[in-house]
Symmetry: C2
Subunit: 339 residues, 2 copies
DNA sequence: CTTTGTAAGGAAACCGCTATACTATTAAAG
DNA sequence: CTTTAATAGTATAGCGGTTTCCTTACAAAG
């Protein structure tokens, strides 16, 4: 039988109300009584039943982290977990707990998460990018559920999100290229429909142009966003002897970087001596590649922390209008570019 | 104001008890009444308040997943998340929820997790390997907390754990080597104190010996368990012209494999033509390496599923004595060995 | 001396659901 | 035609806190 608040009250010779007030730092309790109650708590090793508290207060101090999980998720999307760690860190610090909810295997993504809200077992939703369906978005707005999206959705502007400024990332890439003295740069991009890699590419071109460096169309290599596609595109462009070899190559993400690196290897071009290389987004094995690539990275952990923070501010201040916002990318200098 | 069970009772013209019984599939309710209640539930969009249920039932249907989190955890320990995904999958299937608890930043690892148990906000603990301190182990045993460790601890045998049979993994490695016709094999091992890599090594030697293939001491290369150490050890041994070059090389884990691969590259030995290679444990970028390595892998996701399953069986059957157990490794044939 | 105010603590309702014990009705058995 | 048993449903006491509203006691003000 666990110790309850009544046991403490008996032990201290006061009422339950008084114990509760001591626990919640009410002011109307004398120092002597407070001390007596605290002694009793110590003596009996009393710990409040959180379910009872949660039930009485009608609040859970629990947040759902909604995402798509499955076999090899950690491999395919390590960013997600790093963000989650950031979120978790912030929530813990603020005395919230985090419950993980998986969207895979659901009739519509977010079904279970909405249940958690409706059943009052969580106060809010933090949703990892692709886990937002239009249906979920609609229900969130309709029922006015506290939420933060990580990565902003294309279809719904009234939701609250946090995302990295990819265009700015592209500008950083341009800055770094110019700082290293590379003016003739090849940009390996995803599909034309791939928003992120295109934002990066546009930011890059814009900033280069600002610095009087026009990036011609033939220095943009669109691919099908696969490793193999990047390999083929890079190989074709670099193998074309009618054009001078670019000084550097930028890959819009790390999948493309792996394919590109393979092409460079086959063409016996060494990095950074023959050609420099810059990519976006770190990946687990990045540090194991030889040479270590320079990268414009997303500070994913920090993004998680921010998201957690926004969530709590929202909950503790429901009227506060919380705006969506973007975070800054960071340059991590490796061995593949030389200043 | 959310809909409560009383609202439903009024709507259906029955008592709360009856509604509750319908919800919990009691038998003593007539089909007609059941239908009426269900109509009312539909009509009012009633969803039971899980905190109230949890409180009344004195059970939480919630499990803590205890581990050490932090920046780059996903990178440094992707296995952990894959296990977590497995655990989560099984728990969800059985209508349990999973709460993540971090041991880093705690005065003793597991402090917070024990609080979750003591505050009755979780029914049990699933603990990822290194997150078990001796102090936590003691408290778990003392307070008889339902628990499963993933990876078995060195110091306490009374705890319940699940782990992969690493010795068997070593035997699998031997089998595969012999199946490919490699009899002269170099084994790159971690430190002598590294339990896992030594178990693998011992399993390997034993099985080789069983097949009349003695593995001499000079074919075991101990390292300091770093990439660099593996590189140096492999380089030294393979560069020693007084010995014949081994037909194949086994690395006791993927960190060692990366270092070893670098040594092979520098010695211009191609895989698998000049020398075959087999390693243990996949890693995110494994598939991106060239060639794709053959691997004796741990089925981590499945281990998570098993762990979740054990946990629930334990909770739903408290008297049942649940034994610790081991899971089987699996061979994933890549391009670095040839049958 | 009465009124007013305030500090300290207690009584009891309530949060929403479960589960036990009980009642009423009907059917089967003797 | 009773007695017994089974069926269908209800009343109510928790579960363990929080919180509102009171009661006292005593001091300060009028």
């Amino acid at each position: 039988m666990p110790v309850t608040i009544s046991d403490v009250a008996n032990e201290a010779g006061v009422s339950k109300s008084t114990v509760s007030k001591v626990l919640n730092h009410w002011t109307s309790i004398s120092p002597e009584t407070t001390a007596r109650v605290q002694d009793a708590i110590q003596k009996l090793h009393y710990i409040p039943n959180s379910r009872a508290v949660s039930f009485a207060r009608q609040t859970t101090q629990n947040i759902v982290y909604l995402t798509s999980l499955g076999k090899d998720t950690a491999y395919r999307n390590p960013h997600m977990f790093d963000i989650m760690c950031g979120v978790h860190h912030e929530l813990t610090r603020r005395n919230y707990t985090l419950t993980l909810v998986d969207t895979s295997e659901e009739s519509y993504p977010g079904e279970r998460a909405m249940q958690e809200i409706n059943r009052r077992s969580a106060d809010g939703l933090i949703i990892h990018g692709s886990a937002v369906s239009e249906e979920l978005a609609a229900r969130i707005l309709e029922e006015n559920v506290p939420h933060i999206l990580i990565g902003h959705p294309s279809f719904e502007t009234r939701l609250c999100w946090i995302d990295t400024d990819h265009t700015l990332g592209g500008e950083y890439a341009a800055d770094h290229m110019l700082a290293c003295g590379y003016t003739d740069v090849l940009f390996i991009c995803g599909k034309k429909s791939d928003t992120i890699s295109n934002q990066r590419m546009k930011g890059f071109r814009k900033k280069m142009l600002n610095q009087k460096q026009h990036v011609p169309q033939h220095r943009i290599g669109y691919t099908d966003a696969t490793r193999q596609g990047a390999y083929e595109t890079a190989f074709r462009i670099l193998n074309d002897r009618t054009l001078p070899r670019p000084q550097a190559i930028i890959c819009a993400n790390s999948t493309l970087a792996v394919g590109t690196a393979k092409a460079l290897r086959e063409l016996s071009l060494s990095i950074p001596d023959d050609i420099a290389m810059l990519t976006f987004d770190t990946y687990p094995y990045s540090g194991m590649l030889d040479p270590v690539l320079s990268v414009i990275d997303i500070n994913v952990y920090d993004m998680g922390v921010q998201a957690g923070n926004m969530m709590i501010r929202k909950l503790e201040n429901p009227d506060l209008f919380i705006q969506s916002f973007t975070t800054l990318p960071v340059l991590i200098q490796g061995e593949s570019t030389v200043l």
